[in-house]
Symmetry: D2
Subunit: 135 residues, 4 copies
């Protein structure tokens, strides 16, 4: 079991009827996407054609920040607020969609780090939407 | 002029028809509220009745993270995405509303740091809503 | 290969003579520890004896922030600055040592989330020190 | 009094013999510098000669993250750890020095946002060093 899964298992109070598997997957996807987007912004900076990648870098930075915050909010269960959770997940999914689209475009043109990043964004967006549905 | 205002003035490309005053106020309120909520979570931890303040601490931590990310997103103008901006502002306003309500309740019972924090949350929520309206 | 490993592999410029395995392990440990510490602070908040865990919660929050920032700094390679990297790694190792010690104490007394968190902190501290040595 | 100052005044436990003015100034400078560096990275992205500014952008991003984390650590007083505080302040001062030097160079060549950012970095570095001396 991953550390995120272990932390859910050892939470000392009632977690309610949350779908633990979907929650764990979403937390892990958020932290992974935050890392990948941070790295992709930096990889874009080192490309010869950085001037054509400025929108991608900006999307990466926003998405990293949103995923980071969403991963943190989802890691907390005390005083759970379903409305706030949903709103944050929707903002995160929007950032992942936007960044995933931008990165996929560059990935198709051969930029490999953007291809990897697009996959992380798609994965994170999907886990956010799956979790929203299960709330 | 504040540093946030100076950074807007010296941005080298077109800012579009954003309301600069509302944007500056919202950026500043986000960073201020991130600090205040971080400090309020810690002040609650040092209260004798911390066991009654756990929901407040959790709201503080979420609100600090949301305000932090929102302040960062609003500080970027390259490749501006109105939909994402609006979604992030709505999540931030929701976190500020929730934390502000919680803190105001404790503030009325004499907890002064919660009173200060409730004011920061109200202010930040209002600047988010004003900015959404102006988008 | 993990996404963090793939991002290193696809970085478009020269990474210098960095030990890629140690770097990947440290990046992953930082993001994992940021998640674990965020979750442990929240789990402590839900314990009956939260009043005895306030120092632990504070250590968790500091450690989460340090690991988060360190994981981001290590995910960037453009304009690499060895001195800054070393200083940041030392601050992160110090936070992990301090939080790991605190959590281990509670873990020995049966608090399982603190036990899991202590392991994440030990692991992250070790990967930071291994990376410092290899710089 | 600023909100950061009010939060220090209303902290419910003993703050020890910390220099409150130096602490307040450092907290405020950290959050201000985090905002300024985030905005400067984005302003650099929109410059015609972005390809010559990639090291500056990277320094901005690191400095924003370090200042953010340092501002958070300094906003907590519960279970105060002087060694960790000092180590974090030194990492922050190093990031501010590095980013301030880089931005000052571009500021002298007429890049106004870098000039504003250099001032925020110098100010933040100085408040960190003043606080270290007073610990």
């Amino acid at each position: 079991m991953t550390r995120a899964g272990q932390m859910l298992e050892t939470y000392p109070a009632d977690l309610g009827d949350v779908d633990r598997q979907k929650l764990t997957q979403c937390i892990e996807a958020c932290f992974e996407c935050a890392q990948t987007c941070t790295a992709c912004a930096d990889a874009c900076l080192s490309e010869q054609n950085v001037a054509e990648l400025t929108k991608c870098i900006r999307s990466n930075l926003d998405c990293a920040d949103l995923c980071d915050t969403t991963g943190r909010v989802l890691s907390r269960h005390t005083g759970y607020d379903a409305n706030l959770t949903r709103t944050v997940l929707e903002a995160c999914a929007a950032a992942c969609k936007s960044c995933g689209d931008e990165c996929a475009r560059h990935g198709e043109m051969g930029m490999q780090h953007c291809q990897v990043c697009a996959e992380a964004c798609r994965r994170c967006e999907q886990t956010c939407r799956d979790l929203i549905t299960s709330l």
